[in-house]
């Protein structure tokens, strides 16, 4: 890392090649092989590939996080004995606009809130679709429930 702005700027515009090399090396200091830490031509190839992967990975990361969040939401709905589609439908109808990320956080750290959301979703669906206020089944909060 360069301690002054002057030093940082020095290597950028037709400056001493040493500064350019330094700027490259500070990205490669964590490489395990000694040749990659010292030989800049070889290191440049690795670094360039890594940066390309990072650029392409930005879109893939979004795709992967969406899948993961969906899996977590399905697991949470399973714990509370409701279908995940039914849950989303009910929340949509009742106007609750929490996204998947927030629902995951609630299901992990705020379980009682999530339980109330599940009940809200069920009640909304029953009242809007059937138009009748039905009593909901008794609910126990525990994972992997057995109906005896």
């Amino acid at each position: 890392m360069f301690l002054t702005v002057l030093n940082m700027a020095r290597g950028r515009f037709h400056g001493d090649r040493w500064w350019k090399v330094m700027r490259l090396k500070e990205q490669c200091q964590h490489y395990l092989k000694r040749s990659l830490r010292n030989r800049c031509g070889v290191a440049y190839r690795h670094l360039r590939r890594a940066l390309i992967h990072q650029t392409k990975g930005r879109r893939l990361k979004v795709y992967a996080t969406n899948i993961l969040r969906n899996q977590r939401l399905e697991a949470a709905c399973d714990e509370h004995e409701i279908g995940h589609r039914r849950f989303k439908r009910g929340l949509n109808k009742s106007g609750v606009t929490l996204n998947q990320h927030m629902l995951n956080i609630l299901s992990m750290y705020e379980p009682r809130t999530f339980e109330r959301l599940v009940e809200l979703a069920e009640r909304t669906e029953i009242e809007t679709v059937l138009g009748v206020h039905e009593p909901l089944p008794e609910r126990r909060f525990s994972a992997n429930k057995i109906n005896i």
Partner: protein
């Protein structure tokens, strides 16, 4: 962290042992269910690279059910790699040779094909009947429900229920072959 919260943390991240009775259950459905629990997809803290899967003990693997004529018509194929090495075996024969093979194959194939598969498969314990070693049984704390609602077999009915069941006609010696 306070005392109660630390306990909650331990409980959330501990590896749980489940037991599943495969009596009269479909082999494919068991594969899906078990692979789900072994990967940890039933937990809201799931992540593919963190080790959140559980152990599953499958019991009564000998008594799985296939619908239709699959026991006779379903054929498992393999090739040894040598000449004339094609092996074809009907499902009932495979089940005779190794009663746990069909279930283990289904579970293995349902786990995603990556480097974690073999480790996760080691956490699946399949037994052909109810004899489970004591070291495994003392870890089990949860019961899983199978995918199929089990129908009642004639052996499940008690004598009183059989006698009191309504009959269409009375048995007469004249109508029965003696």
């Amino acid at each position: 962290m306070s005392f109660g919260r630390a306990n909650q943390q331990w409980a959330t991240f501990s590896r749980v042992w489940h037991i599943l009775n495969a009596d009269r259950q479909p082999a494919g459905g068991i594969g899906v269910l078990v692979s789900r629990y072994v990967q940890g997809l039933h937990k809201p803290i799931y992540h593919p690279t963190s080790d959140v899967g559980d152990h599953v003990v499958v019991v009564n693997a000998k008594k799985i059910a296939y619908s239709g004529n699959k026991w006779e018509e379903k054929v498992f194929t393999a090739h040894t790699g040598r000449r004339k090495g094609r092996v074809r075996m009907q499902a009932f024969k495979v089940h005779e040779l190794d009663p746990t093979w069909i279930i283990r194959r289904n579970i293995y194939r349902q786990i995603p094909n990556n480097l974690l598969r073999r480790t996760l498969f080691q956490r699946v314990h399949v037994f052909e009947d109810e004899n489970v070693p004591a070291e495994i049984m003392e870890n089990v704390t949860n019961v899983l429900i199978g995918p199929r609602p089990v129908p009642k077999a004639i052996t499940d009915y008690t004598e009183e229920e059989k006698d009191s069941f309504p009959k269409l006609f009375l048995r007469d010696k004249y109508f029965l072959k003696s």
